[in-house]
């Protein structure tokens, strides 16, 4: 039987584009003809190359702001939205264009069968097997049960790189000089801590997100950050992850995952995610946020008005039932206080403030008058946040307003925090006018606005757990060495000393902490050992709601999976860590470049509610451009 290889029906068959009858015909030919089977196999293999390699270019997506506008357009049922959101381009429905639509539609109509099934090629992969060990005593992890032996020993704490590493000597046999922490400024050939010598690692949990803001600001201004400005763990912890809620009755959930290390194929990468739930026994205290607009020329609208609207919109979405937002505009004597309700149109509120038509005006808005007015509006039972919105951080007026707010904060009868929201182009980093305890953030888009409010609201949430301690023990039979990603200092504890996590670590409701460990396996070509855990973890903490001390144990078994099979969170966290290491030119990454970071991050984009991850992709691309120019940040 002869077949025609140039007939496109063979490809159409492989691509599942044939009608059922044609498909049956092809299958009949395939049963009879080895030549046809060979041809189809060829096509399938060629198609398989593309399916292996092609990912959607992340640039080919609408921006978060555009998605928000579309969302607004959808809610407005479209009929009204068109007038509100169009770009000023008028439709030019020429006769030819209309005719094309009608003809194309009528020709295609009979072929159409609407397929409304959205297929996602990245199927969710379950997290790696995790077990909760109720009783200690298994061969591995037994050292947790024997901790009492070490309790009598003195405490040594070792400050390291953001997230501090403490180690228990265990059976330390090295001859390192005692009471000295070794810092390797120049990376050694094997910069990893040997697991066989130092068995237990404790992580401190207080990790901020300043590092990411700093990098983003600098890159946005066209300069690469210096090594000392890059905190990999702060980059990783800037992003929210999709860790599950803690189980019922527990305030914390611990999430462990392992796959091969994207920047060094020989190693494994372990991610540890700790998430706090909500305290169901006590209601969150009410929060009252004062948005102080007198740092803006609101009547002239010289600032980034879109950013302000997005910022207020983002906040309104996040406020709870008992929370209130009050906009204060006091740049002129007829200033105004406006309570923003859930249904208030933000643009309309700003318009009325700008035009002086607000119904809630108050006279005499000098500094003292403003302070007394705000104090009278403070929530005396709950918490208050004063948010000064400015478009020029360095102006003397901003300095004066901050001093005024500091006085107000001291006079306040209830807990009152301060923050500065910068809509201008100047960077908050290195500004001496802003006190250290004040949260200062620049906002350019809605993703950044959401993150700002996320940070601000997190500090007002209730504490759900404190005295948190996390101990990790790697299996020395599987792990030769390990490194806490972001920690470039290798800390060694002299023999005979007991380590302890610094007291006071706490997590507030919905807070998360993510840590990554790069693990060097034993042997050249190790195989996953499914019969023994790679890692045992013990989580100790006090539950604030019922004042109970709790202890949970977990084990993580490595099933040898590739990072492509790992969760979206794993891939994205790894991509951010890899980006930080590339920026810092760290010695640990071997097989990844910025393009690899982009690929890795793209594969972790799914859970991007506020557009933070898309923004990261833009940051990486911008960094690539700067790398070509080699522009480094200079303090001078």
């Amino acid at each position: 039987m002869t077949i025609d290889p140039s007939d496109p029906k063979w490809t159409a068959y492989v691509m599942n584009e044939l009608a059922p009858e044609q498909r049956r015909q092809i299958e009949g030919i395939l049963t009879r003809s080895p030549e046809a089977r060979r041809l189809v196999a060829d096509i399938r293999e060629t198609v398989g190359w593309f399916e292996e390699g092609v990912e959607t270019d992340p640039q080919l997506r609408l921006t978060p702001e555009q998605m928000t506008r579309l969302d607004g357009g959808t809610r407005a049922s479209g009929w009204v939205s068109q007038a509100v959101f169009n770009f000023g381009w008028r439709v030019r429905p020429t006769l030819i264009g209309l005719a094309l639509v009608v003809i194309a539609a009528s020709l295609l109509q009979k072929f159409f069968a609407p397929d409304h099934e959205w297929r996602d090629s990245r199927a969710e992969v379950p997290l790696i097997q995790r077990e909760t060990v109720s009783e200690p005593g298994s061969a591995f992890g037994e050292s947790f049960a024997q901790d009492h032996r070490r309790n009598q020993q003195p405490v040594v704490e070792a400050p390291a790189y953001g997230m501090t590493v403490h180690t228990v000597p265990g059976d330390v046999t090295s001859n390192d000089s005692p009471s000295k922490f070794e810092r390797r400024d120049t990376p050694a050939a094997d910069p990893y801590v040997a697991a066989s010598a130092e068995i237990i690692t404790h992580c401190l949990l207080g990790v901020g997100a300043d590092g990411y803001h700093r990098v983003r600001e600098l890159v946005g201004q066209g300069a690469l950050p210096n090594d000392e400005q890059i905190r990999v763990e702060e980059l990783v912890n800037y992003f929210p992850y999709d860790y599950p809620e803690p189980p019922r009755g527990r305030p914390l959930s611990l999430n462990l995952e392992v796959a091969n290390c994207p920047w060094n194929d020989r190693n494994r990468l372990v991610t540890i995610g700790l998430r706090a739930g909500t305290n169901s026994r006590t209601a969150a205290p009410p929060l009252r946020i004062f948005l102080l607009l007198d740092g803006l020329e609101i009547r002239k609208f010289t600032f980034d008005r879109a950013a302000l609207v997005q910022t207020v919109t983002a906040l309104r979405e996040r406020l709870g039932h008992n929370d209130h937002l009050i906009i204060v505009e006091s740049s002129r004597p007829d200033g105004a206080f406006v309570r923003v309700a859930a249904s208030s149109p933000i643009s309309g509120v700003l318009e009325s403030l700008a035009s002086g038509r607000s119904p809630r005006q108050f006279p005499g808005a000098n500094d003292a008058g403003l302070r007394s007015r705000i104090v009278s509006e403070l929530d005396r039972r709950g918490r208050n946040e004063l948010v000064l919105v400015v478009d020029n951080l360095t102006s003397s007026k901003t300095d004066g307003r901050l001093q005024n707010l500091s006085r107000l904060q001291r006079e306040a009868p209830s807990p009152t925090a301060m923050s500065v929201l910068n809509l201008g182009k100047d960077s908050p980093w290195g500004q001496s006018v802003v006190p250290e305890e004040v949260l200062v953030r620049s906002v350019r888009n809605i993703a950044q606005a959401h993150h700002f409010w996320g940070e601000l609201l997190a500090r007002s949430r209730e504490r759900v757990a404190d005295q948190i301690s996390l101990q990790l023990e790697f299996d020395p039979e599987q792990v030769r060495a390990y490194r806490l990603v972001g920690v470039d200092e290798v800390v060694r504890i002299p023999a005979g000393h007991r380590l302890k996590v610094g007291p006071g670590h706490e997590l507030r409701a919905e807070q998360e902490v993510t840590a990554l460990f790069e693990v060097v396996p034993v042997g050249e070509n190790p195989r996953p050992n499914r019969s023994r855990p790679l890692l045992a973890a013990q989580l100790d903490y006090r539950s604030v709601a019922d004042d109970r001390n709790l202890s949970e144990k977990f084990v993580l078994i490595d099933d040898g999976r590739n990072w492509r099979e790992a969760s979206n969170d794993f891939r994205f966290a790894a991509s951010v860590a890899a980006y930080g290491m590339l920026l810092a030119e760290a010695p640990y990454q071997r097989t990844i470049n910025y393009y690899g970071v982009l690929e890795l991050a793209q594969r972790g984009l799914d859970l991007d509610v506020y557009g933070h991850r898309l923004e990261f992709l833009e940051l990486v691309k911008r960094t690539v451009g700067l790398q070509k120019k080699k522009v480094r940040f200079s303090a001078g």
């Binding site: 691509m15 060629t46 190359w49 593309f50 640039q59 997506r61 609408l62 959808t74 159409f112």
Partner: protein, 182 residues
């Protein structure tokens, strides 16, 4: 009424998910400016919000691609600011000496795609991108490129044959195993 509104919202959400990539690709090809292309696509979807679902039902992709194309042409005519398109291929090094299998084995997917589509015509590359990057059907690709389904099928088949011819020799060793599986 509420159900209808919900259906419409979900329909728009689905359409955005499904078509934003191909539409931006189409608009980018015409405008040469990514930001402009995104704006065109946003405007297209806003117009879609304004149409009753029953009118569009059954010819959604044709409607979207036509509106997007017209809108992009309008913008270009007005703005006159066409710029060269930034190519994804700039991201990867030149791997012409390697076979697809070798590239797959080192898991460099971007290099793989660049290698495969190198040597194809512009139209064939576009079809490959729409098919494998965006997962469009023949009919939807035809809507985007103003081709018939038959044309799309022929061009895709031709493109895959070219690729096969180019790399077939390098892959011959592994071919016999593949046939035995069938």
């Amino acid at each position: 009424m509420a159900d209808r509104a919900k259906d419409q919202t979900e329909s728009v959400t689905w359409a955005v998910k499904r078509y934003q990539g191909p539409l931006i690709t189409q608009a980018l090809r015409i405008t040469g400016d990514l930001e402009l292309a995104r704006e065109v696509v946003q405007d297209t979807f806003l117009r879609f919000c304004g149409h009753r679902q029953k009118i569009l039902n059954g010819r959604l992709s044709a409607w979207l691609f036509t509106v997007c194309r017209n809108r992009a042409l309008d913008v270009v005519a007005k703005e006159r600011r066409s710029q060269p398109v930034e190519d994804l291929n700039e991201w990867v090094s030149d791997d012409r000496q390697e076979s697809p299998r070798q590239i797959v084995s080192r898991r460099d997917s971007l290099a793989l795609v660049k290698t495969l589509i190198d040597g194809l015509t512009e139209r064939e590359r576009e079809i490959i991108r729409y098919k494998f990057e965006h997962g469009l059907s023949y009919r939807e690709i035809g809507d985007a490129l103003e081709l018939t389904e038959g044309n799309v099928g022929y061009l895709l088949h031709q493109a895959l044959q070219k690729i096969r011819k180019r790399y077939g020799a390098k892959e011959s060793a592994s071919r016999s195993k593949t046939y035995q599986k069938l």
